[in-house]
């Protein structure tokens, strides 16, 4: 018999290393001789999209499009340490460092513009589309490339450090505030359980994630799809099968992960509630988007069958055994 059920799962998730561990990101920004902005960030791009959003963050500081940014990453010879691409921390931590560095550079660029335009104050000067101009009299303007060529051998380069707010937990009581910020998310899943084969299919699914502010909504959606697929695999497919401390399923022939045929369409709901300490309000969502998926699926299996599975993955064998046990009770 086929039985359907709906389940929900939700999460709150702390950004960064947490628990008082030093969480430091350094980033640099520099005016290039042609008026473009060189950005130096030690953030590793492993597919999560940091190269793109760091460019966006820096470009935003200069009121310009991403074409103005020359982006350099992952070369320890020419840049400082931005910390690991882990703990969902690069957007928040390194994004913050880069925003600070960009703003420091912007202040110096505006200072130079003031001198070159023979003004007595920087008040009223704005940057947009590669130009510094007086907001009240836009004809008074100078381009970033003109500023750069006026510098001669002088280099305008600024560095900024962002240290995350993180306190140690009390080991005795577990109390404290080990992370900042937290992010929130939830999934809803409808499953169909075949009680004869033990197979679990997902019929409908939705994922909702608080991102603070979506710097790049398309990349956020990509992470949500990817996180859902991982959570789905975690819940019903992926079994390391440890025997005497050794992984038995150590190949793709026996360690099964979802394919394009398994993955359901996913309704993705991006929730924007700007984080006051984040770069333009953003928070990282690399890991959080997968955490609520397995609980939602297991709750849906419970709703469909009345059987509460307490071990994952819920393989057909495990589910059939549990269904049988519940019948004899």
């Amino acid at each position: 018999m086929k039985k359907r059920g709906i389940g929900y799962g939700c999460t709150f998730y702390g950004t960064g290393y947490g628990n008082g561990f030093p969480d430091v990101s350094v980033a640099e920004a520099e005016l290039n001789s042609d008026g473009k902005i060189n950005v130096y960030v030690g953030a590793t791009e492993c597919g999560q999209g940091s190269d793109t959003i760091m460019r966006q963050i820096a470009a935003e500081s200069f009121g310009s499009s991403v074409e103005i940014i020359n982006y350099y990453s992952t070369d320890t010879d020419i840049m400082k340490d931005s910390g690991t691409a882990a703990a969902s921390r690069q957007t928040y931590n390194t994004g913050n460092a880069l925003r600070l560095a960009s703003e420091k550079l912007k202040d110096r660029v505006i200072e130079k513009a003031k001198d070159l335009l023979n003004l007595n104050t920087t008040v009223g000067l704005k940057i947009e589309n590669g130009e510094v101009f007086l907001n009240s009299f836009k004809a008074t303007k100078i381009s970033l490339s003109e500023i750069a060529s006026s510098l001669g051998d002088e280099k305008l380069r600024e560095e900024a450090t962002f240290v995350a707010h993180s306190t140690e937990m009390d080991e005795e009581t577990g109390q404290g505030c080990p992370y900042w910020p937290y992010t929130f998310g939830a999934a809803a899943v409808e499953v169909e359980v075949d009680t004869e084969t033990g197979k679990v299919d997902i019929i409908r699914a939705a994922s909702a994630q608080d991102v603070g502010r979506a710097i790049n909504p398309e990349l956020v959606e990509g992470q949500m799809d990817g996180g859902f697929a991982m959570g789905y695999g975690y819940a019903v497919f992926e079994d390391l099968n440890l025997k005497n401390g050794k992984i038995v399923n150590n190949r793709f022939t026996n360690y099964l992960i979802p394919t394009a045929m398994d993955m359901p369409e996913l309704e993705k709901i991006i929730i924007e509630d700007p984080e006051s300490t984040g770069p333009y309000g953003a928070k990282g969502i690399g890991e959080p988007v997968m955490t609520y998926v397995a609980p939602a699926i297991l709750n849906a299996i419970y709703d469909a069958t009345g059987v509460r599975m307490t071990e994952i993955p819920v393989t057909p064998e495990r589910l059939l055994k549990a269904l049988k046990e519940s019948e004899t009770k």
Binding site: G222, R251, F252, P258, M263
Partner: protein, 157 residues
């Protein structure tokens, strides 16, 4: 050692191989075509997908000497000069690329789908991509990308 004569991306090659050389090794090591990736080495992940005489194959499971007289297309051979293949364009447009490791295989699988089927359904697309594993994307944007590639093909007609 034996000599195998084959055509890769429109160019004829004559390569010395031994009996255990895989097509994957021939492409990467002998011809320097490193766009084809080795993932699992056992025909499960699809990272090493290439097109052989019009059919997609896992190049880790094909021995080089079996390629005598065959036509092979790798990821380096799908674009036309500077013009990207519709599958490549569509993957970029739809944001279907994350870490990129599976992407050469995915693009070739997409090419194989749209070469054979002008109007693939969602199910046909998912089946066509199911031999290629991806750990980043959750596949949905890739499915959208295949639909988009179909559109790009139509627009070009």
């Amino acid at each position: 050692m034996t000599t195998v004569n084959l055509n890769v991306n429109g160019k004829d090659y004559s390569v010395e191989v031994d009996g255990s050389t895989r097509l994957l090794d021939l492409l990467r090591d002998s011809l320097g075509l490193t766009g084809t990736k080795e993932g699992c080495g056992e025909g499960e992940c699809g990272a090493c997908t290439v097109i052989m005489d019009g059919e997609i194959v896992d190049s880790c499971l094909v021995l080089a000497f079996q390629c005598e007289g065959k036509e092979i297309i790798t990821i380096e051979g799908v674009q036309n000069g500077d013009i990207l293949h519709p599958a490549q364009k569509a993957f970029i447009e739809k944001g279907a690329v994350q870490c990129g490791f599976c992407i050469p295989g995915m693009v070739l699988a997409t090419k194989a789908i749209i070469d054979k089927n002008e109007e693939p359904t969602d199910d046909e697309i998912r089946e066509g991509l199911s031999g290629n594993l991806c750990r980043c994307t959750g596949y949905n944007k890739m499915v959208e990308a295949v639909h988009r590639a179909v559109e790009i093909n139509k627009e070009a007609k």
